[in-house]
Amino acid sequence: MTILRGHFAILLVVAAPPQVDREALERVLVPVAEAFDLTVAIRPLSDEAAGTVVTDREQAPGPSSRAQESVEAREAWTIAVHGADRPGIVHAVTSALAEAQGNVVDLATHMVGEPDSAVYVMTLRVTLPAGKAAEAAARHVGEAASELGVRCTTHRDEADLL
């Protein structure tokens, strides 16, 4: 959820019973949205698109589900990028991520500071191939950022708990 130029915006991925289709959801949601002068758009996701990230730990011994079997082992990481604003920061970081088989799950940006010395801050939640490949991927992204003169740090999401 966020506020875009004064407009409320929210994006939700929801699970519904098989008998609930898009028309059924629109019948209940559109009147509510209109009452608040909002627009609502609903579209179905395939099972694959709705699949969740599976970490190494989740794949440890135990019953495996179909969703787990269909997704390769990946790790969730957080990347912080900050530095003097200039064109190409998002392109450089996301290109490096793609080269390293990284996938952006979530991304937020902030522009701070004075207009003549604006600082661009970007935080990303990404998934990377598990294990040592993840560390190599994180290094690759950091190098791409440093070529632009911006700071880039990465940490595994699990590492948040000390």
Binding site: H82, A84, D106, V112, G113, V121, T123, L124, D160, L162
Partner: protein, 166 residues
């Protein structure tokens, strides 16, 4: 009394690993005085590290006296060449920084820790700190390693702008 200008993002000194202070001499004590004076010039400031006033040296001051989130409180203190020797548990909480004036962020920090270092008279100190004081110590020590709270945010939506949404 010398209140120094506080460097803000993206100043290079803030991303640089600071050098050891070594022997605590008159220059180191003058640095501590400047850090205290600069910290006290901003009422909400509970800690300041030498790189924030442009000196890439391993020194910081902390004072959480009277802060509502504080449990342990060692009053105002300076540590030169600090090292965290033990840490336990962690919690995520919001923090800000004089060097990142427009943002706050949710950061995971240890709840309890032991930090050692050299005091203002050259004495060796080992402080056990917890809660908000522990968070302040970790935040300041990060500055000595060229890290800001931005580098430790707990996820992509863990940063918040101080200004009101428009």
């Amino acid at each position: 009394m010398t209140v120094r200008p506080v460097l803000v993002l993206p100043h290079q000194v803030l991303s640089t690993v600071a050098a050891p202070v070594g022997c605590v001499d008159d220059r180191a004590r003058a640095l501590a005085e400047d850090l205290f004076d600069t910290m006290r010039a901003s009422p909400a400031c509970v800690g300041l590290a030498a790189p924030q006033i442009g000196l890439s040296l391993r020194a910081f001051v902390v004072d959480v006296t009277g802060h509502r989130k504080a449990r342990s409180c060692h009053g105002p203190f300076v540590l030169f060449d600090p090292v965290i020797t033990a840490r336990e548990e962690s919690e995520i909480a919001r923090e800000g920084c004089m060097s990142v004036p427009d943002l706050t962020g949710d950061v995971a920090r240890a709840k309890y820790l032991t930090v050692t270092g050299t005091g203002v008279d050259g004495e060796q100190l080992a402080l056990e700190v917890d809660a908000f004081e522990a968070r302040a110590v970790q935040h300041e020590l990060d500055h000595l390693d060229g890290l800001l709270f931005l580098d430790r945010v707990a996820g992509s939506h863990a940063l918040f702008e101080r200004k009101v949404y428009r």
